[in-house]
């Protein structure tokens, strides 16, 4: 370690004070406020009042709301699964391309990510609508006689979420496939493992950190992106994000909204923990 010179200290300290106070004031304190809000009582006049109570959490476990949460979990899990099913072979195929082509293809993958997500969701509406392009196309081809009712369904919301979040699944998967050493696959083959056995016992475990990172990057936003059900799902409360938004901006039940958001935070903590665990295991096996 370097010895701290006289000039170094003030610079270092100033930077640390700046970033720490930013994070404390705008991340830690606000989150503590949310926790505090979740144990307070809803108040019709102002937003919150005493006494402290666990009512909001009890309400979360009420069968009425539990169903809402299971529903939104289902949407997020379906989205993640579809992303994984599309993204896994995609990332694998990508890693097999030549180095130059790969740069271009990765670039093409992140272009949509840099485009306004609302506008892209809206573009999907143009395609999925009853008089939309997909139905027009299928009818012109004579494949269907009646337009399919696609818009304002759960399916449309899942399509929208997958469309917005797919790159977040592919990029971490791609990076683990890039590190996947060909020798390992050869070795597995030489040891007599068939393609399926190699896939199950070698490839999947080695790409697990990528899978988990992708799941984390898709599952969490998939629960929160409230504007997708608003536009493609007929304004139903299909995601936890919609419930939280309604509690804060319509029904004005802050304790309940706060408790719902803590649910999301816990889901995040759980996923991060799982990801870390899987990474550590790979590290041990590699060593």
């Amino acid at each position: 370690m370097r010895m701290a010179s006289g000039l170094q200290q003030p610079f270092r300290n100033a930077v640390l004070i700046l970033v720490w106070s930013w994070l404390l004031l705008l991340v830690l304190v606000p989150n503590l406020l949310v926790i505090a809000a979740s144990v307070m009582t809803r108040d019709a006049g102002s937003f919150l009042s005493l006494p402290l109570t666990l009512d909001a959490y009890r309400q979360l476990l009420n069968p009425l709301y539990l169903e809402v949460f299971l529903q939104s979990l289902y949407m997020a899990v379906m989205t993640t699964l579809v992303c994984l099913l599309i993204g896994y072979p995609f990332a694998w195929s990508l890693s097999l391309m030549g180095p130059r082509a790969r740069i271009l293809l990765i670039f093409l993958l992140i272009v949509p990510f840099w485009t306004n997500s609302l506008v892209r969701t809206y573009a999907l509406k143009l395609i999925l609508a009853t008089n939309g392009l997909l139905n027009q196309g299928l009818m012109n081809l004579g494949l269907i006689n009646e337009p399919l009712r696609l818009l304002y369904t759960e399916g449309a919301v899942i399509i929208g979420l997958v469309y917005l979040l797919l790159p977040f699944m592919i990029l971490p998967l791609y990076s683990v496939f890039e590190d996947l050493r060909k020798e390992l696959l050869m070795a597995s083959h030489d040891l007599g493992a068939g393609p399926l056995a190699t896939f199950v016992h070698v490839i999947i475990p080695l790409t697990l950190p990528g899978i988990l990172a992708g799941v984390m990057l898709v599952l969490l936003p998939a629960m929160g992106l409230f504007f997708v059900p608003d536009i493609l799902g007929g304004s139903r409360n299909l995601l936890v994000g919609n419930v939280i938004k309604n509690q804060f901006l319509d029904a004005r039940n802050w304790p309940f909204g706060a408790a719902a958001s803590i649910f999301l935070t816990l889901a995040m903590a759980f996923l991060m923990f799982a990801h870390r665990l899987s990474k550590r295991r790979i590290g041990e096996e590699g060593a």
Partner: protein
């Protein structure tokens, strides 16, 4: 393209460079509830620029006003009847200085001095209207005359409801024969159960522009506001506005000035501007709702004033019920079931 970009830049530059701060009126209103040309004419006449921000439910409007209470965010808002009394009682409104308002005496005597705001100290009626049935007769065979008909299985996946808790429950309560303003938890629960039978048929909720799902061909039957139906018929004559047998939902929207408005002067000017018979008539003709301004009604084109969708006759209003304030406790009961209703397919 280059020219266009240049024009855009110029426009940006001009708005940014104008040295004098122009006066601004922050108007908080329902989506598409004020013709663009009215706003432009107001700006031309007074030099006050109107910033038009929208909401799609009274609840959202109320929550936002509460949230922004201290920051003097809006100068004018347009709540429905029952929210006028709620906001007045909670001391969220500024009294309206009647000496600055001309034309109040021309308003329909039946629509002023109501229980929601005796002597109209805090509110000036803007428009009134009804929520009834929309039927796309091109796609729907047979008669649809009652709210109850929406429960018909043949409409599966083709029904639209407004994204408005009170209105949807109003319909459910009326179908069961209860008052649309019920505060009885048991009646509300029954309405919820009745409505949940309808849910599998419901395609979408929309209070931003309830005509759009019909125009876009997504839904064929369901709820609609009368003005939206009138606007829709201009492009889709087959869409019918029906007064349901159980009774239509009636409401009135009024201008109110939030307590902390930054520019109440401009708000008064705007109310004044709208109360001019000519302007009120223009609004009613353009967006299809009924004006409470009797002087304006005389100026209306016959095709508008005889349009039963905009201006119902006495038979249309049989069983009609005005929405009323039901208190926070009952609202919480509604809110709980509403959340649940909207959560599934």
């Amino acid at each position: 393209m280059k020219k266009l970009a240049l024009a855009g830049l110029l426009a940006v530059g001009l708005t940014a460079c104008s040295s004098e701060e122009p006066q601004v009126l922050n108007l908080y209103n329902w989506s598409e509830y004020m013709p663009q040309q009215v706003l432009e004419r107001f700006t031309d006449e007074t030099g006050i620029r109107v910033v038009y921000t929208t909401y799609d439910s009274n609840e959202a409007m109320y929550a936002r006003l509460k949230l922004l209470d201290d920051s003097a965010a809006y100068d004018l808002a347009v709540p429905s009847t029952y929210y006028v009394s709620k906001m007045r009682q909670e001391d969220l409104l500024m009294p309206i200085d009647r000496s600055k308002i001309e034309g109040f005496d021309k308003l329909d005597p039946e629509l002023v001095n109501l229980g929601i705001d005796p002597e109209n100290q805090y509110s000036i009626p803007y428009l009134w209207g009804t929520t009834g049935l929309a039927v796309d007769t091109a796609d729907v065979g047979g008669e649809v005359t009652a709210w109850e008909d929406l429960w018909d299985k043949r409409f599966a996946g083709r029904v639209m409801l407004t994204n408005d808790m009170r209105e949807v429950f109003h319909m459910g309560l009326r179908v069961l024969g209860y008052s649309g303003n019920s505060t009885d938890p048991d009646e509300i629960r029954q309405a919820y159960e009745k409505l949940s039978e309808l849910m599998p048929s419901v395609r979408t909720f929309n209070s931003d522009a309830p005509r759009m799902p019909y125009l876009e061909g997504e839904t064929d039957v369901g709820m609609i506001w009368n003005g939206e139906a009138v606007m829709a018929r201009e492009v889709m004559p087959k869409l019918q506005y029906v007064y349901p047998d159980e009774g239509v939902i009636a409401w009135m929207d009024s201008f109110v000035i939030p307590k902390n408005a930054e520019n109440p002067e401009a708000a008064h000017k705007f109310i004044n501007f709208v109360l001019q018979p000519e302007i009120s008539a223009l609004i009613s003709e353009d967006i299809g709702y009924a004006t409470p301004n009797l002087a304006a009604r005389d100026l209306l084109d016959k095709s508008v004033s005889n349009n039963r969708a905009s201006y119902p006759n006495a038979t249309d209003m049989i069983n009609a019920e005005f929405q009323q304030d039901i208190g926070d406790d009952a609202l919480q009961v509604y809110a709980k079931y509403w959340e649940k209703l909207k959560s599934g397919q």
